[in-house]
């Protein structure tokens, strides 16, 4: 466990040692504001909740999370520091988890910095703050799922551009899997079990229920197992690379 901690600390500090962290947070805040107020019609809806804010998160994460995750492994491989890291007496999974957690906590901070919106709705009306907290938690869990996919994508290539695109595409597939458009294409011919399975794999399906404030154990387990699955996939990729 101490290995996870040491790696996490180093990674986390390195975010803030470069402008990346500040640029990311700034863009995240600006975009989430733009989405909420212009596309989400925050005021026009005349409702004291953050639904317009949260409903855009899958799309926001779609291109912001790969920007965080792409450097996780690609940069280490490119600069050669991976050779240093992997020859230190650290368990491989500890390093993978430590790096992931650093990225996840970092996105958590970006997410938490949207708190003025929460203050705003509380000032304007009387929102259900339980729903909002559940939605924040759900959004953060979803970010974790995206990041874990990104970790695996990043382990595959030493090019950050390739990692970015790869992560974006896979995440898009996981979002789209819940779209009626996609599900209809299957429902005509595939058995209901298949359609349900595809729908249940979707980020969107789970996030929609979460953003309504229903953080059920199922959704929690879904995001959690997504994270575990993709971190294990990262381990496999890194081990394969090591075996050459």
């Amino acid at each position: 466990m101490s290995g996870v901690n040491i790696v996490l600390k180093r990674e986390f500090r390195s975010y803030f040692a470069t402008p990346i962290a500040y640029v990311f947070i700034l863009i995240f805040l600006i975009l989430s504001g733009v989405f909420t107020f212009y596309l989400g019609n925050f005021y026009e809806r005349q409702q004291a909740d953050l639904t317009p804010f949260f409903s855009f998160h899958p799309w926001l994460y779609l291109f912001l999370v790969p920007a965080v995750s792409m450097r996780l492994w690609s940069e280490e491989r490119k600069s050669g520091t991976i050779e240093l890291l992997m020859t230190l007496p650290l368990k491989r999974f500890d390093v993978i988890v430590g790096k992931f957690l650093a990225a996840w906590i970092f996105t958590g901070i970006a997410l938490a910095l949207t708190f003025p919106l929460w203050i705003t709705v509380n000032y304007l009306g009387e929102p259900d703050n339980g729903v909002i907290i559940a939605s924040y938690l759900g959004s953060w869990l979803m970010a974790g799922g995206f990041l874990a996919i990104g970790s695996c994508a990043s382990a595959l290539s030493k090019s950050q551009v390739i990692s970015f695109i790869l992560c974006g595409v896979v995440c898009l597939l996981f979002i789209l899997a819940g779209f009626p458009m996609v599900l209809n294409a299957f429902s005509d011919w595939a058995p209901a079990v298949v359609v349900d399975t595809i729908a249940s794999l979707s980020f969107l399906t789970h996030f929609t229920s979460v953003s309504k404030g229903v953080l059920s154990l199922r959704d929690f387990l879904y995001f959690f197992s997504m994270i575990v699955f993709w971190l294990l996939a990262t381990t496999v990729v890194i081990e394969l690379k090591q075996a050459g």
Binding site: A17, G80, T81, I82, L84, T87
Partner: protein
């Protein structure tokens, strides 16, 4: 002790390291010599556990690098080729991270960092970002992280590559200054380095060990070993001297290059130089130079590595 047994690494059809076996005992400073792409770095990457061998095994102080990687890696300090480091960190932060991974407590880490930055003269740059450091300083940071836990095994991949002569000298001094119960493995393609620091040299080319011995043994295998050079005032003088020299029994051959004469011994038993000195005295030759060679490593290196490529082709 390090034991490498029948080590092999294939990349598809390419055999990067081909059935290498050797042992290194404490106190040895082993130089890996070889042309670029010979398999030196690949071997080091396998010893340190960065890549897995296709076949064979490596044991470090009794721990197998594949079965018990962490135990083996605890013994090792490693400087990978090109000295990778986290550019956005300061040497202090970087060394602190490495020392923490190596299991030192906060106070121990302060002492350790103090100690290695003194050895590597890093004091002035400890709080500067690594990306702003010169190549020499970067290398010293890399070496500092490799020795921070006082490892039993120090593996340095081209530690002096790209450094200026003063920096090279410093790095070699550091390696020589390590205590005598350590194992050091360095890779290099600089031959002078081998005679300067190593107690043993292994020459590899195309993934195979071609020669294994002390630098002195390598020099002895040179055709220049115990050859004597005389330099006279003019090439006419030299030509006259050659006739007399060739008549000596212990002379195998003579090469003239303008004013200098290179005499090869019949037998490398140390009799050539005294014989020539006698001759110079009796003939009362006026010389500007007279010396005996130890051997030329570059010639040995070229001969050994070329022979292998002939066999291979």
């Amino acid at each position: 002790m390090i034991e490498v047994n029948h080590l092999q690494k294939n990349y598809g059809p390419l055999v990067a390291v081909d059935d290498i076996s050797f042992k290194v005992v404490p106190g040895e400073i082993l130089g890996f010599l070889g042309p670029n792409g010979a398999g030196k770095s690949t071997t080091m990457k396998m010893i340190t556990g960065f890549i897995d061998p296709t076949h064979g095994s490596i044991s470090i102080w009794g721990s197998d690098i594949q079965d018990d990687k962490l135990a083996a890696q605890k013994h090792i300090g490693y400087l990978p080729e090109g000295t990778p480091a986290y550019d956005e960190m300061t040497p202090r932060g970087f060394l602190d991270f490495i020392a923490e991974v190596r299991g030192f407590t906060k106070t121990e880490r302060l002492v350790r960092i103090e100690h290695v930055s003194k050895i590597m003269s890093l004091g002035s740059v400890l709080d500067q970002r690594i990306e702003t450091l010169s190549k020499g300083f970067k290398r010293r940071v890399g070496l500092a992280q490799a020795i921070i836990h006082d490892p039993d095994v120090l593996i340095l991949d081209e530690p002096t590559d790209g450094l200026d002569p003063n920096q090279k000298h410093q790095v070699r001094e550091m390696i020589r200054g390590l205590s005598k119960d350590k194992i050091v493995i360095i890779s290099t393609h600089i031959l002078e380095e081998v005679s300067a620091v190593c107690t043993r040299a292994i020459i590899i080319a195309e993934g195979k060990i071609l020669s294994d011995g002390t630098p002195a043994e390598l020099e002895e295998s040179s055709r220049y070993h115990q050859a004597v050079t005389l330099k006279s005032h003019s090439s006419e003088d030299a030509s006259k001297m050659i006739e007399k020299i060739e008549s000596l029994d212990c002379v195998k051959g003579v090469e003239q290059n303008e004013m200098s004469i290179l005499v090869f011994p019949e037998v490398k038993d140390g009799t050539l130089l005294p014989a020539i000195i006698d001759l110079v005295k009796t003939q009362e030759w006026q010389l500007t130079e007279l010396f005996q060679e130890k051997g030329r490593l570059d010639e040995v290196f070229r001969r050994i590595t070329r022979e292998s490529s002939h066999v291979g082709s």
